[in-house]
């Protein structure tokens, strides 16, 4: 479409210019020959009749020569115009062909920019940038879909196997109940995967930054610990929260709770199963920060860059975490930090205590 428009426009302008040029040339020649004939040729004849006859004949010959010349010039110019327009549009045709070849299967194909007119080159460069971004995005989504499919296959296999084996009529009621409990547990794992993904997807879509409101941190933290005690049977004595009552921030209460839930769930599922978890509210010059610290004896410094990768677990799959965790908690935290303009940092001290710090909260 773009190519058609440029092509039509360019051709029309060139043809109009050509016709105008030829017309003006013709008029100028006519004027000049009239003057020449009147001044220099006609005056050399003796009688007025001879002069008039000669003048007309000469005039017609000159007109014919001029007309033939103009027609020839017009034909040659038209030919040159068509050839030059075609040559000029060739790079654009190549770019159009390359653009036609771009598809979801081959998203990374860049448009060829060599030979493009200088006026169109920035447009081509911008399109190439967009194509590159699109290819990256498609690749990310493809990888994400593959990861998600993989992560859902295992709990689904668990549910099917437990249901089929549990349906054996030889099982008594307590055995059957155990199978049902395990099915429920596998379903909770699947729910965790889906809810984590939705939390970040929804946060991306909403105008979170325009809807921030004052939030008192200490009660929000205590409420989250209490909910974990009720829903996940977490012993609240394991969690120590040191948050001053005067800590108020500007935030989205729902997203702050999801952030806190994922930080604590990560510490509970991947840290030392009996070790303490400490929550601290820090007030450095760069802005208020929330720090969650727990013992992580299996973690090494090399693992830190991978902590926010989707579905990453230490040693491919942490057996203890496999019962409940899905490798999405810190990925969700990183996503929420992006949405809320916060910074995320990991530190592992020599005693293998992991500190996850979220900083940049705006104090009220």
């Amino acid at each position: 479409m773009f190519h058609d428009w440029v092509s039509r426009s360019l051709r029309r302008r060139l043809l109009v210019s050509l016709l105008l040029g030829v017309g003006l040339s013709l008029a100028a020649f006519q004027l000049i020959t009239d003057q020449i004939v009147d001044r220099y040729i006609v005056s050399s004849f003796a009688t007025a009749a001879d002069a008039a006859e000669q003048r007309d004949r000469l005039q017609h010959e000159i007109d014919f020569i001029l007309l033939a010349g103009v027609v020839t010039v017009l034909a040659v110019s038209a030919l040159i115009t068509v050839v030059s327009v075609r040559r000029g549009l060739k790079p654009l045709e190549s770019a159009t062909a390359a653009a036609r070849a771009v598809s979801p299967e081959h998203p990374a194909r860049a448009l060829p920019l060599a030979g493009l007119p200088a006026e169109i080159r920035p447009l081509g460069e911008r399109i190439n940038e967009l194509l590159e971004g699109l290819a990256d995005s498609l690749e990310r989504e493809r990888r994400f879909s593959a990861d998600l499919a993989h992560e859902l296959r295992t709990p689904l296999a668990e549910i099917r196997a437990l249901a089929e084996v549990g349906a054996d009529p030889r099982h008594d009621a307590p055995e059957l109940r155990r199978y049902l409990e395990q099915i429920a547990s596998a379903a909770v794992g699947m729910q965790g995967v889906i809810e984590s993904l939705l939390a970040v997807a929804r946060a991306d879509r909403t105008a979170v930054r325009d809807a921030l409101e004052p939030l008192q941190v200490a009660p929000a933290v205590q409420a989250r610990i209490e909910r974990l005690r009720v829903t996940n049977s977490v012993d609240p004595a394991r969690i120590t929260a040191r948050v001053p009552a005067g800590a108020w921030i500007q935030s989205d209460p729902r997203l702050f709770d999801v952030l806190l839930l994922n930080l604590l769930t990560n510490a509970l599922q991947h840290g030392d199963p009996h070790g303490p978890i400490e929550i601290d509210w820090l007030s450095p010059a760069s802005g208020a920060a929330l720090r969650v610290r727990n013992s992580a004896p299996q973690l090494s410094p090399q693992d830190l860059p991978h902590l926010t990768e989707r579905f990453w677990r230490r040693a491919a799959r942490d057996r203890q975490a496999a019962a409940a965790g899905v490798g999405l908690g810190l990925w969700v935290v990183a996503g929420l930090c992006r949405v809320l303009d916060l910074s995320l940092r990991f530190d592992l001290d020599p005693d293998r205590r992991l500190s996850v710090s979220v900083s940049g909260f705006r104090s009220v």
């Binding site: 296959r153 099917r160 089929e164 199978y179 596998a186 491919a316």
Partner: protein
């Protein structure tokens, strides 16, 4: 028949182990690749059910080690990895079958039985000895068409002896084939199983199916 189940999901491995034990299989479970290699070093298995994404040592590495040692154990890969190249890699490394998660337990069982038949060069799922017939698919023994009420262990013992007809098995060898590696029972349990099995065969009019060879063990002549 003895299986080694290598799977890091405890819920899935518990369900599969229960399902196969209910069919009379002896099932050992390894939760990671290193434990699997240790089980394979100590015990002999008819079949290995192997996940690919394992902690410590990957499933493909376990497979490579097993085949390098020229172990005849059949291998069925059970994985969530659905790419064609994953299947091709596993099969090229020596896997005998590849089943994608999630799966139907009855299909898994059918594939396991087919692999076991192939391992012992059997064309049919029926093993016979006079009037005695074992349907290895249905896991049912029958005498002249009438089903025998055997327990899973009795059936497994009879199947082992019929599969290796003429070969004598000591009590310890049968225990190794019929019980899990971590079983706390003594191999004397085999005497009990043979005794109850003989009683059932006698009642069904099949008195001399299992023979005792002093110093050598039990066999089906």
């Amino acid at each position: 028949m003895k299986l080694l189940l290598v799977e890091d999901s405890t819920r899935l491995s518990a369900a599969l182990a229960a399902g196969f034990r209910g069919e009379g299989f002896a099932v050992d479970h390894a939760g990671d690749g290193r434990a699997a290699l240790e089980f394979l070093r100590v015990h002999e298995y008819d079949l290995l059910i192997l996940d690919l994404m394992l902690p410590q040592v990957s499933g493909l590495e376990v497979l490579r080690t097993l085949r390098a040692a020229q172990t005849p154990t059949r291998v069925l890969v059970l994985s969530a990895r659905d790419q064609i190249e994953d299947r091709v890699t596993a099969l090229n490394l020596g896997a005998d079958d590849y089943l994608l998660k999630p799966f139907d337990f009855s299909e898994l069982k059918a594939r396991v039985l087919a692999l076991l038949r192939r391992r012992y060069g059997e064309l049919s799922s029926k093993l016979t000895c006079g009037d005695l017939t074992l349907d290895t698919n249905a896991r049912v023994a029958s005498s002249r068409g009438a089903p025998l009420p055997l327990t899973p262990k009795e059936y497994a013992l009879l199947e082992t002896l019929l599969r290796h007809r003429g070969r004598s098995f000591t009590r310890a060898a049968l225990f190794e084939r019929l019980y899990d590696g971590l079983s706390e029972a003594s191999d004397r349990v085999i005497e009990v199983v043979v005794s109850t099995l003989r009683n059932k065969l006698d009642k069904a009019g099949l008195p001399a199916v299992i023979e005792t060879r002093r110093g050598f063990g039990y066999r089906v002549p």
